[in-house]
């Protein structure tokens, strides 16, 4: 067979060269040219969360898409990409799409969340954890709306809603003129990310007056959570906690630089990562400090651990404990000081202690202090939220901060959760005062309840505001912040300004029995190609065949035209 082929090639090359060209070129083109792509519209989509926590999978499992687009009103949804807008989103529709095993769901979010009415935002926030709770094979994407996407949506809507209801002629015309859209994602199937290191930071301020001083630990987790990792900015939860922690670090480091105000307590500040994934950073930090090191501040005298979680709004403060503090302990002292300060200086704030026992049978722990409680360290969490199950702790709607200064667009407050900078700075001052009273033992020394240690200017609202702005400028989901990320290094730099011994702490999942597994392909590019329905190709082929037939007949009978022209011109010459 090969000899014959070579003979043919020899003959071709020997005879006229151009002939070979004409034969070769189409063959080469067929083999070599890839199928070209020219998208009607290309846009970024953010995938829903995908992670395993303690062996339990959550979220969507799939990341590839190559299907036609439809909206929810269409009858047949299976293996189609269902596009929904946030205004039309409801759980029943979402379930309908999943039940009919749709190819994918794309939810279009408006560019400016503040245009959404309050109830839709609330409803979506309630639904976020439900969407994540069930593991689904259907990939769910979120896209930010722009004009092209909106036009694609309206065109798909007209196609989908007219499917069941028109006559055959209308359907025929419709197929010839309508535009379908094929949604294709670029990128591979999602796989588990191996060796992901969650970073946490610690720093300290050493107390004065000998060895074995009691330690106060202040903790806040810096990562954020939402239904889509790339869209979770976590302004209130927990951007407020981190900025408050940094502000407290600044205040107390100033106090500790002067000998007169240098107190007899060690202050340990811990910015933890992986907080939304069952406080992985804190868990490993505790293990390392208590089990694997000989001496650490945590092993000796710990007065209490105060965790800051979601303090940027609201007019109430709740101190969540797993065991009510006993009288005479420093923990109890802080509780009393908080009550004193609030009742005398901030009467508008409602304060209460919430007692919730640690339930080890739950999938995840409620608050960060429970991690410390498990290791028998006295701890509590301060938050303006009453319950750890509040939807706004893990919502993508928690996007920004609002301040009375007009830098952030004065006007209506945003529909979702947000940080009110005035309230954040009030809370910071409150906590700073209470801590100072505990550290300097002021109540025992007889200081009145309304003595203000920190004047108005000391707690800098601009500092808080710029911190929150910077934190909400990028998504801080735990899957996106690796150890080289700018979030971690900037936090390290800031802590280094005020604290000594700033150290990083890494958590990697155990190889054999991983506590957490993250997956990649969280942000992809989706292309929407304009496609025509299959009938259209058939119609077009028939029309082209008809056209060619007409042309053929015209050429065959060209002689008729020729003789007509001849007859017209002949009398003219005869008249000459």
């Amino acid at each position: 067979m090969f000899e014959e082929a070579s003979e043919v090639f020899d003959n071709m090359f020997k005879s006229s060269f151009p002939l070979t060209f004409i034969v070769f070129i189409p063959a080469v083109l067929i083999l070599v040219s890839p199928l070209p792509t020219e998208a009607a519209h290309e846009f970024t989509v953010y995938r829903m969360q995908q992670y395993d926590l303690q062996g339990q999978p959550y979220g969507t499992r799939n990341a590839i898409l190559n299907t036609e687009a439809r909206t929810v009103e269409a009858e047949v949804l299976s293996r189609r990409c269902v596009i929904m807008r946030l205004v039309d989103f409801s759980y029943e529709r979402y379930q309908k799409a999943l039940r009919q095993s749709a190819g994918a769901v794309v939810i279009i979010l408006p560019k400016n969340m503040s245009t959404m009415p309050q109830d839709i935002v609330q409803q979506f926030m309630e639904l976020e954890p439900e969407m994540l709770a069930t593991e689904t094979i259907v990939p769910v994407y979120f896209a930010l709306e722009d004009d092209e996407l909106l036009s694609i949506y309206t065109q798909t809507l007209t196609t989908s809603s007219s499917q069941g209801s028109s006559s055959a002629a209308e359907v025929l015309i419709h197929t010839a003129t309508a535009n379908g859209f094929q949604m294709v994602t670029s990128g591979a199937q999602s796989k588990a990310v191996s060796d992901w290191a969650i970073t946490s930071l610690e720093g300290r301020l050493a107390g004065t007056g000998g060895e074995d001083l009691p330690t106060i630990v202040l903790v806040a987790h810096y990562d954020s959570f939402g239904v889509a990792p790339w869209l979770s900015y976590g302004a209130d939860s927990n951007g407020s906690g981190v900025s408050m922690l940094l502000e407290l670090a600044r205040l107390f480091s100033r106090l500790y630089t002067y000998k007169r105000t240098h107190a007899g307590y060690n202050l340990l500040f811990f910015v933890s990562g992986g907080g939304k994934f069952n406080y992985q950073g804190t868990k490993r930090w505790l293990e390392d400090n208590l089990d694997h090191t000989d001496s650490s501040l945590l092993q000796d005298n710990v007065a209490f651990v105060l965790c800051l979680d979601t303090l940027g709004n609201g007019d109430s403060l709740h101190l969540h404990v797993s065991k009510p503090p006993k009288e005479g302990t420093t923990q109890y002292a802080l509780l009393k000081e908080l009550e004193t300060v609030i009742s005398s200086q901030y009467p508008e704030v409602k304060f209460s202690m919430v007692h919730k026992k640690i339930n080890l049978a739950d999938d995840t722990l409620a608050w960060e202090h429970e991690r410390f409680g498990i290791r028998r360290l006295p701890a509590f969490t301060l938050s303006h939220l009453n319950s750890h199950r509040e939807a706004q702790r893990s919502s993508i709607m928690d996007v920004r901060s609002v301040s009375p200064s007009s830098r952030h667009g004065v006007g209506e407050p945003p529909a979702g959760p947000y940080v009110d900078l005035r309230k954040l700075s009030r809370n910071t001052k409150l906590i700073a005062e209470s801590l100072a009273r505990v550290i300097y033992n002021l109540t025992e020394k007889g200081a009145p309840g309304d003595l203000q240690i920190f004047t108005e200017q000391m707690v800098q609202e601009e500092q808080l505001s710029s911190m929150v702005d910077w934190l909400t400028a990028q998504p801080r989901a735990a899957q996106l912040v690796d150890k080289d990320s700018s979030v971690v290094s900037t936090l390290e730099y800031h802590l280094g300004h005020y604290l000594k011994d700033v150290r990083r702490h890494y958590v990697k999942a155990d190889k054999r029995d991983p506590e957490f597994v993250f997956y990649d392909q969280l942000k992809q590019t989706m292309n929407a190609y304009r496609v025509k329905p299959a009938i259209f190709d058939l119609l077009l082929a028939v029309c082209i065949a008809a056209y060619l037939g007409v042309i053929y007949l015209a050429i065959q009978h060209f002689g008729v035209l020729y003789s007509v022209v001849r007859r017209i011109t002949a009398p003219k010459t005869k008249q000459h």
């Binding site: 259209f536 022209v565 001849r566 010459t573």
Partner: protein
């Protein structure tokens, strides 16, 4: 046919490029077209009609291959459907007719037994053929025609040119 097709690429340089560079540049390029057609026809030994047909068909095929094959191959095979490929195909049909008319007019221009009264119409037709592309661009820009309307106008223009040249041809051939 194939033999002729191989020669054409060297002649048929810029028929696919439309650009408002200058009327002069355009005219020069299209005049070169005319020269090329004339050269090809003079090489061919045969009756007038066969010369015209062979030259025109070869020319049109070369233009098709050079300027339309690649876009069609690369573009029409994609996922997306675009009406512009259908328009491109219609356009190639129209230019076939146009080249036949152009070849006929060139042939008539170079005949020694062309009556004096025909000189003017033939020259006018020749000019029209050469500047047809320019005229089309002008129409599209001035009247802001859509792509299908432009195609229609082009078809009408080419039809009228070819009808006129057919009349002249018939009169010339059958006038003795």
């Amino acid at each position: 046919m194939l033999f002729l097709a191989t020669f054409f690429p060297t002649w048929e340089g810029g028929a696919g490029v439309y650009d408002f560079v200058g009327e002069f540049m355009k005219a020069t390029v299209d005049l070169a077209d005319l020269l090329g057609l004339h050269l090809v026809m003079s090489r061919n030994a045969g009756k007038g009609e066969y010369k015209i047909m062979v030259a025109a068909m070869g020319w049109a095929t070369a233009e098709l291959v050079m300027s339309r094959c690649i876009p069609l191959w690369v573009g029409a095979r994609g996922i997306e459907f675009d009406w512009k490929y259908i328009q491109m195909s219609f356009d190639s049909n129209i230019s076939l007719v146009h080249y036949i008319a152009m070849a006929a007019v060139v042939w008539m221009f170079t005949r020694y037994d062309l009556p004096k009264s025909f000189r003017l119409p033939v020259t006018v037709l020749l000019g029209l053929c050469v500047y047809k592309a320019f005229l089309m661009e002008l129409f599209v820009h001035v009247f802001l025609l859509g792509s299908w309307t432009a195609l229609l106008v082009k078809a009408v223009l080419t039809g009228s040119i070819s009808l006129c040249s057919l009349f002249l041809f018939v009169t010339l051939v059958h006038s003795n």
